[in-house]
């Protein structure tokens, strides 16, 4: 049903222009008042359970005998602003890294520990605790020219048609946002709330998990977790969301 509707809806959609800065809306704005209340009330937002776990992990020394995150960085509050400017360039690796990638680099480089697996609770918890410090700050992608090639690749991936349904991200998120797809309202597709608690997942998940959902919906093969395509897409999405407030951990349907 959903797919048939989709086909009808999207065959005729022209390639859309990018959303103007003044028209940028967080997915938050399209949610019901009940869901918005669930996100903004810290006592009701289930993402806070992960933030709590992450704050505890932030202070705990790893078994390697190296310092805890707090040992080098101080209180987790010192991370305010960081999530708003990721992904960022990493000198040593000579590539862009996202926030969870940065956390894993700290584990391997500075703590002599193994990287935490993608979508594992400990990685999501640390990422949520770090990202939550930036709540309310505007998305502010760095003007670092070394990020430009990956950002351009992200834009290409966002606007090109792919998958068995021959759809592009931009068709839904630039051209048809605000319209409905089955029971869902199509959002502009901004990355400002991640990691976030999705009711459909009954769980907290990363932006990559969200993008995998959209790719599966397009009947395209999702990239494996950690693939450079996600980094490129995230760089493009963050630039496209510049100025929106960070909401992590947000709540979405």
């Amino acid at each position: 049903m959903r797919r048939a509707l989709l086909g009808l809806l999207l065959l005729a959609v022209p390639a859309a222009a990018e959303i103007a800065p003044g028209e940028r809306r967080s997915g938050f704005d399209q949610m019901t008042p009940e869901l918005r209340a669930m996100q903004t009330d810290e006592a009701a937002n289930p993402g806070q359970l992960w933030v709590g776990d992450g704050e505890e992990a932030w202070a705990a020394a790893p078994p390697t005998g190296r310092p805890a995150c707090a040992g080098c960085h101080g209180a987790v509050a010192t991370m305010r602003g960081v999530a708003a400017r990721y992904p960022a360039w990493d000198e040593a690796a000579a590539r862009p890294v996202d926030l969870q990638g940065r956390i894993n680099l700290c584990r391997t480089r500075h703590q002599g520990a193994d990287p935490l697996p993608f979508e594992s609770r400990p990685l999501l918890a640390l990422t949520a605790a770090v990202a939550a410090q930036s709540r309310g700050l505007p998305v502010a992608p760095p003007a670092d020219p070394r990020l430009d090639p990956a950002r351009a690749e992200g834009e290409r991936l966002f606007t090109r048609r792919t998958g068995q349904l021959d759809l592009a991200c931009a068709q839904c998120h630039d051209a048809l946002w605000g319209r409905r797809l089955g029971a869902s309202t199509i959002p502009q597709g901004h990355p400002n709330g991640y990691p976030l608690y999705r009711l459909e997942w009954q769980d907290l998940g990363s932006l990559q998990r969200r993008l995998r959902n959209c790719l599966t919906g397009m009947r395209a093969e999702p990239y494996p977790f950690g693939a450079p395509e996600y980094l490129a897409l995230e760089l493009h999405l963050m630039r496209r969301a510049q100025g929106l407030a960070i909401e992590a951990p947000a709540v979405r349907p």
Binding site: A44, Q48, L49, G52, Q202
Partner: protein
């Protein structure tokens, strides 16, 4: 131990109605969902929540497989005197967790 978040005022005037909000980390696995190998994942839910004030029950809820993961429960009670609330979640596989929070009535 599951992480919990309990929210209530630290102080209240005698006779005031106070709101208590609780969240607990729990998968609330329904028992009806097939796992990766096709077999049903065994049920693992919280079945009961009780809030007591100084040992006296003030709120009780039964939970069922249709309850969402990480259940959020909110309720109100009357602040009559200072004391301690306890919050107990019990469930499948011997799950049992108790947390407490103090209230000062002025």
């Amino acid at each position: 131990m599951a992480r919990t978040l309990i929210n209530l005022p630290k102080t209240a005037k005698a006779g005031a109605v106070i709101e208590i909000k609780t969240l607990i980390s729990h998968p609330m696995e329904t028992g009806y969902r097939p796992g990766p190998e096709g077999r049903l994942v065994p049920r693992d839910i919280i079945t009961e929540f009780v809030c007591r004030f100084e040992g006296e029950e003030v709120f009780r809820a039964e939970l069922f497989p249709a309850t969402s993961a990480n259940p959020y429960l909110t309720f109100t009670t009357l602040a009559e005197r200072s004391g301690t609330f306890t919050f107990t979640w019990t469930g499948d596989n011997g799950f049992s967790q108790t947390e407490s929070a103090a209230l000062t009535v002025t």
